[in-house]
Symmetry: C2
């Protein structure tokens, strides 16, 4: 016998499809949406539909956006000589929050992964090459994650971008701020030692 | 400057309103919904709207349901002499999953909490009393959480249900199955000792 009605089970199933949301979380979110003021749930549903309808990929950097080109590509305040290459659109939020970087971005929409069947054609790499042909980019910052796949992607990009004769950099790998060195893994410590900088 | 369009930020804000979903999770869910097949997002939105429209509270036990009385209250297979009192509708799922309990439920929709301003009037207690007046209930199982608020609620219910002269029980408190006694807090161990059962 079903404990709940079909519509409730349907909602739980739909919520469970979202990565990181398991059965328990889906149940809790479902009941939260059903117990609160109907406005909360209906506003969420409307926001999902609206975001789906109005969001496109920027034709230059492949960021998710409501306008093409996106606000960063269209801005006159950005340093157009730098392009920071990231895996996913939400990586841009993290970098923008630092307030330090004023250049442009390029979103790959993934990393190379032979296991998952993601090759160079699945990523927005040809779009990046097109941007280098066009205007005066002097530096490409590879900001893919320091994982096997992220490093492989950075390595692949370095190889194919060599011919453009521009500066190619990788974001620094090292100890995270506030870390206790006793609790940091040895690969990170090794990278932090390798990448040590002069202070005197 | 906004990193993303207004519609994307709107969706992130709506997702953040859900308890246990923080900024990072909201961003990841948002981009998941925007990157996947549109059907995934639109099905979720439709499921939310449908669940909101078709879900009501059972007029007997206050469970969330698509029909009144709910499937458990309407079932002829349930033992109508037992009522298990729970805090929230999703607690019913956990108890039903054991497959052991065949009685009815009563959902309080919360616990007593002077700090949060939740008094007896805010809970579905008068509905429970009405059920005891009607038919032959012989046992009330108090299955509120073993927290300060859950215990206070169980204590309060015991006091006001005394006059019905029926058996009132509390779900057992003790060591969870598979627990290593070294890692169990001392209050739980104390309760497990108090509640020890004869084996020979």
């Amino acid at each position: 016998m079903e404990t709940f009605s079909l519509t409730i089970n349907k909602l739980i199933e739909e919520l469970k499809k979202i990565p990181t949301i398991g059965r328990k979380s889906a149940q809790r979110i479902c009941f939260y949406l059903l117990k609160k003021d109907p406005k909360v749930a209906l506003d969420l549903a409307a926001a999902i539909v609206e975001a789906r309808e109005k969001t496109i990929l920027c034709s230059i950097c492949y960021n998710l956006t409501g306008q093409d080109p996106c606000e960063i590509c269209a801005s006159k305040q950005r340093d157009t000589t730098k392009i920071c290459v990231v895996e996913e659109p939400f990586n841009i939020i993290s970098i923008e929050r630092t307030g330090l970087y004023k250049g442009l971005y390029h979103v790959l929409h993934g990393n190379l992964s032979p296991i998952k069947g993601v090759g160079p054609e699945e990523l927005k790499i040809s779009g990046l090459q097109k941007r280098l042909g066009g205007y005066s980019v002097s530096e490409i910052i590879l900001a893919t994650s320091p994982t096997t796949e992220g490093n492989a992607t950075a390595h692949y990009l370095t190889e194919i971008l060599k011919k453009y004769k521009i500066r190619i950099t990788r974001i620094a790998l090292g100890l995270p701020i506030g870390a206790d060195i006793d609790y940091v893994d040895s690969v990170t410590i090794a990278r932090a030692m390798e990448g040590r900088t002069e202070i005197l």
